[in-house]
């Protein structure tokens, strides 16, 4: 099937699939914090629904990562029993929720990335990855519609909503470059057509972001702005530690708890 043998490929696939799982676990966990706090009941349901989709996807990808790794770790082991620098989620996903505009901007940047990435992953030579991508893509397509519409609605809304949306876009901008960071593992996967060229995903991402922002009467931040990176090597912002402390509390305190 491929030119590289499994011994070389598996660690790369494990790394990449863990990243997909971790992104969704952390972003979904943060988004679920909106439950009961959204500006209106219907939006509360929409956000919780999207958070559930993300946690569902996280569960599938981490389970798959555990299978690839072959050390008997389950999706729960990976979610609850790893420490901060073993997590591969993007810096964007772990940023604080802020106001509603910040949460929407976070989803918008992430959904756009996920949409174009998964639109290519469905053609992966790694069958299981292609199948999981195809299953998730329908949900992601809806998520992108939801977050893009909110960016337009808030940007092209009142003076206050416009200003908050613009601030959110500006403040999160420096974390978007990390989504496209390319590691040696990625290069192996690209060579073997397991994942697409990152730069083509970036081009499509740029296009959707700039079109949507212009529709929303918002200003696109400079494309050559300084970007934070590090998630590929497990280097995170200060926020991930707090998220994990919260999320892993129960399993670390009661390792054998069943519910």
């Amino acid at each position: 099937m491929t030119s590289t043998n499994n011994d070389a490929l598996n660690p790369a696939i494990f790394e990449f699939v863990t990243r997909l799982g971790d992104d969704r676990l952390i972003l979904g966990h943060k988004l679920s914090e909106w439950c009961g706090h959204a500006p209106i009941l219907e939006e509360d349901l929409a956000l919780s629904n999207i958070a559930l989709d993300l946690i569902g996807q996280a569960s599938s990808f981490l389970k798959y990562a555990g299978e690839i790794e072959g050390l008997g770790r389950s999706e729960d082991d990976l979610a609850y029993k790893r420490i901060e620098n073993e997590f591969r989620n993007s810096l964007l996903s772990e940023q604080p929720n802020g106001d509603f505009a910040v949460s929407i901007a976070k989803q918008f940047f992430f959904d756009t990335f996920a949409y174009y990435l998964f639109s290519e992953l469905i053609n992966s030579t790694e069958e299981k990855l292609a199948a999981l991508a195809a299953k998730s893509l329908k949900e992601i397509t809806y998520h992108l519609r939801h977050s893009s519409q909110w960016v337009i609605r808030l940007g092209d809304g009142t003076d206050e909503s416009h200003q908050r949306m613009q601030t959110a876009i500006n403040d999160l901008w420096m974390f978007t470059g990390d989504l496209f960071a390319q590691s040696d593992y990625d290069n192996i996967l690209i060579e073997n057509k397991i994942i697409p060229q990152i730069k083509t995903i970036k081009e499509k991402w740029d296009m959707h972001i700039s079109t949507t922002l212009s529709q929303a009467t918002l200003v696109l931040p400079p494309t050559d702005a300084y970007m934070q990176t590090g998630s590929r090597n497990g280097i995170h912002t200060e926020y991930l530690g707090y998220i994990l402390a919260d999320m892993q509390y129960l399993p670390s305190k009661y390792p054998d708890a069943k519910w």
Binding site: I40, L41, E42, E43, A46, N49, Y142, H146, Q149, R153
Partner: protein, 103 residues
């Protein structure tokens, strides 16, 4: 009347939601959602009324565009039909083999 409701209603505009569960079947009223625009109304309707069970199509209509009869309309509108059973298709026999089950 609409104005006086608007004065104390801080919710967004209500929309009526109609759900079709199979192509060819009528869209049936399922409930309502709040939304500031049509796209949001569709998305909210999707989250509230299509998560469980099969839906093939959704309609949303601003509630203000629904024209309804009032209680006072009831006797002139509906009562005259009460004593005219010949208007109902009660006197036909349904031939054997006709499937009345729409599914």
């Amino acid at each position: 009347m609409a104005d006086s409701i608007k004065d104390y209603d801080t919710q967004w505009k209500p929309w009526e939601v109609f759900v079709q569960t199979k192509t060819g079947l009528p869209h049936e009223h399922a409930g309502n959602v709040h939304a500031v625009d049509a796209e949001m109304a569709l998305q909210n309707a999707r989250d509230l009324f299509s998560r469980r069970g099969k839906v093939v199509s959704l309609w949303v209509v601003p509630t203000e565009y629904i024209v309804a009869t009032t209680q006072q309309d009831n006797s002139p509108f509906f009562d005259p039909a009460d004593d005219k059973p010949y208007r109902h298709p009660l006197f036909y026999k349904v031939p054997k083999g006709v499937n009345l089950d729409i599914d």
